[in-house]
C-alpha cells in the first residue's frame, strides 16, 4: 500500500494503474472510552486531533463529526489566510496560525496549496488613509509584516481597479500584508484528517451528539447517535452550532449565529494575483487557482442557521464589486453558498474551559475561522492535553466577558463582523 505522497510514489502508482493508494483516513467503529473526545470534524477539530497526537502524544482520541469531514464552514469559506490584526493578543493567535500555515504542506505531507500572494486592504478616503496608517503602525509593532500603500502602489498591484475620477469608491491607498494569501480549504481538512488518522486518532463521521454525560458536575463524555462515548476531557469546535451544544451542556455563550455568504464566478484567465479587501464596500475578492473569482462580503443581516444566505446582502456584494471592478460586468456567477458563523460581541474567539468542567471550547471565530485553523487546533489540543491554558489562549477565555477584558477586533481587523 502506498502511504506517503511524493514524486516517486506518484510515479510508482502511475505505472501500477493507481491501484495501491491506501485510504486517506481510517473509519473505525467508535470505542466506548477514549482519553479525549473532539466534537466537530471541521478544520479546527481536525487540527486539534492532529496536534493532540503530534505535540502531546495523546493518540487515544475520538473525533466525532455529525456529517462528513470538512462539510461545514471548512468547505464554505473564501480560503484567505492573513494575520494583520490590531491588538497584540490577536497578532499572537493569528500569527501562530499563519506561521504554521507556511509549512503545513510539508508538516502534513499533503499539499494545502498555501499561496502567499499578498493581501491589500483598501482605503477610500483621507480619513480612511489615516486609519490605515494607524493600523499599519499597530501591525508592525505586533511584529507582523505590513506596509502602507499609496494610490500608485495600489495601481501597480491591482491595475483592474476602477481608478476613474468619478469612481464611487475612489482609492486613496491601503494596507498591504505581503505574506498573506490563500490556501486550498478542502486540502487543509483532508490533510489534517489523514495526518491525525495515521497518528492513531479515530475519525468517526455521521455521529451526532445528542447529549453530554455529566457526573458530579463534570463532563465525562457524550451520548451520540452511535452510542455513548466516555472521556475525561472533551473539546468542541463546532463554529455556528456552539450555542446548540452549550444548551445541551447547560450553559449559554455570548454567540449569535449568522449566515456568511460567498460566491464564485466562471473561471477566467489570470487577472488578479492578490487578495483585495474593501472595508467600505464590504467586498473582498481573489482569484482561485482554477481561475474563478472568489467573492465574499458582509455578514447577513438576520440571525440564521440556514446555510444559504439571503438576497439583500448578496445584491450589495455584487453591486460593490462592480463599482470597484467594472471589468467584471459580464462575468457569470457559478455558485453561491453560505456558512453559519458564530459572532461574539468583541469579534475575537473563545478558547478555554467551559462552565461545565471537563468540556473545553474553541468557538467564536466569526467570519475568520479558516485563517486560524492551525492556531485553534494547537491551543485546544494544549487545553485538552494539559487542562490549562497556553499563554496565547489565556486572553481568549470565556471569563473575559464577565471581567470586562474584551479584545475588540471589530474595527481593528479591517472587516465588519
Amino acid at each position: 500500500m502506498t502511504r506517503h505522497y511524493s514524486a516517486l510514489s506518484l510515479f510508482k502508482e502511475g505505472v501500477a494503474g493507481q491501484t495501491g493508494w491506501e485510504k486517506a483516513w481510517r473509519s473505525p467503529e467508535p470505542k466506548p472510552r477514549y482519553d479525549a473526545i473532539i466534537i466537530g470534524g471541521g478544520g479546527h477539530g481536525l487540527a486539534t486531533a492532529y496536534y493532540l497526537a503530534k505535540n502531546h502524544g495523546v493518540t487515544n482520541v475520538a473525533l466525532l463529526e455529525k456529517g462528513w469531514i470538512g462539510g461545514g464552514n471548512t468547505g464554505r469559506n473564501t480560503t484567505v489566510v492573513r494575520s494583520n490584526y490590531f491588538y497584540p493578543e490577536s497578532a499572537a493567535i493569528y500569527g501562530l496560525a499563519h506561521s504554521l500555515y507556511k509549512t503545513l504542506s510539508k508538516d502534513l505531507n499533503y499539499n494545502v496549496m498555501f499561496s502567499a500572494r499578498g493581501i491589500l486592504t483598501l482605503a477610500h478616503s483621507e480619513a480612511g488613509m489615516e486609519t490605515a496608517a494607524r493600523s499599519v503602525n499597530a501591525i508592525q509593532v505586533n511584529g507582523i509584516d505590513c506596509e502602507l500603500f499609496s494610490v500608485e502602489d495600489v495601481r501597480r498591484v491591482v491595475p483592474i481597479y476602477n481608478f476613474s475620477p468619478d469612481a464611487r469608491y475612489p482609492v486613496y491607498g491601503g494596507t498591504w500584508q505581503p505574506s498573506g494569501g490563500t490556501a486550498r480549504h478542502d486540502a487543509v481538512a483532508w490533510g489534517y484528517a489523514r495526518a491525525a488518522s495515521r497518528l492513531g486518532v479515530d475519525i468517526i463521521q455521521n455521529c451526532e451528539i445528542t447529549d453530554f454525560i455529566i457526573e458530579n458536575g463534570r463532563c465525562r463524555g457524550v451520548v451520540t447517535s452511535r452510542g455513548a462515548i466516555r472521556a475525561e476531557r472533551t473539546g468542541m469546535a463546532v463554529a455556528g452550532h456552539s450555542s446548540v451544544l452549550a444548551a445541551k451542556a447547560g450553559f449559554r455563550l455570548p454567540v449569535n449565529s449568522y449566515a456568511l455568504q460567498a460566491c464564485v464566478s466562471e473561471p477566467v484567465k489570470p487577472i488578479l494575483d492578490t487578495v483585495v479587501i474593501s472595508p467600505d464596500t464590504g467586498v473582498y475578492v481573489s482569484q482561485s487557482d482554477k481561475g474563478e473569482l472568489v467573492i465574499g462580503g458582509a455578514l447577513d443581516r438576520i440571525p440564521s442557521y440556514g446555510q444559504r444566505g439571503n438576497l439583500p446582502v448578496l445584491e450589495g456584494v455584487i453591486a460593490g464589486m462592480l463599482d470597484m471592478y467594472p471589468i467584471f460586468g459580464q462575468l457569470k456567477m457559478m455558485r453561491q453558498w453560505a456558512g453559519i458563523v458564530d459572532v461574539v460581541p468583541d469579534s475575537s474567539p473563545i478558547i478555554g474551559e467551559s462552565p461545565l468542567p471537563g468540556l473545553f471550547l474553541n468557538c467564536g471565530w466569526g467570519t475568520g475561522g479558516f485563517k486560524a485553523i492551525p492556531a485553534g487546533g494547537t491551543l485546544l489540543a494544549h487545553l485538552l492535553a494539559t487542562g490549562t491554558h497556553h499563554d496565547i489562549s489565556r486572553p481568549f477565555d470565556l471569563d473575559r466577558f464577565a471581567r470586562g477584558r474584551l479584545i475588540d477586533e471589530a474595527a481593528g481587523s479591517g472587516i465588519a463582523h
Binding site: 452550532h241 450555542s243 446548540v244 444548551a247 449559554r252 455563550l253 455570548p254 454567540v255 449569535n256 449565529s257 443581516r301 438576520i302 440571525p303 440564521s304 442557521y305 440556514g306 439571503n310 438576497l311 439583500p312 461574539v344 460581541p345 466577558f401 464577565a402 471581567r403 470586562g404
Partner: protein, 89 residues
C-alpha cells in the same frame, strides 16, 4: 426578498428591518448586580436553532415589535406589539 410583517405597517421588505436581539432579555435592576449577571444580560444568548422570539425594529416607522421566526428556514409565524415582558424596564 423576504417580507416581514410590521404590526403597524403590514408586510414590508426585509431590508427595512433591524434585528434587536432575543425577546425576554431583561435588564438587571438595582445596585448590587453581580458581574456575571451583567455579562449575562449584555452578552450571553440562547441563540436557539429553530423557532425563536425576537425583538425587531421597523426602520421606516421607527417602532420596535416582537416577531416569531424560525432561525433555520426563516419562516415568520407572526409579529406583535411589545408587551411588558419583552420591553424590559
Amino acid at each position: 426578498m423576504q417580507l416581514f410583517p410590521c404590526p403597524f405597517c403590514g408586510p414590508r421588505e426585509e431590508s427595512e428591518f433591524h434585528y434587536g436581539g432575543e425577546a425576554g432579555n431583561l435588564r438587571p435592576d438595582g445596585g448590587d448586580v453581580t458581574a456575571e449577571r451583567w455579562a449575562g444580560y449584555l452578552h450571553m444568548r440562547h441563540n436557539s436553532k429553530g423557532p425563536t422570539r425576537e425583538i425587531w425594529m421597523h426602520l421606516t416607522c421607527g417602532e420596535f415589535f416582537a416577531m416569531t421566526r424560525d432561525s433555520v428556514n426563516h419562516k415568520v409565524s407572526g409579529s406583535s406589539v411589545l408587551g411588558e415582558t419583552e420591553h424590559g424596564a
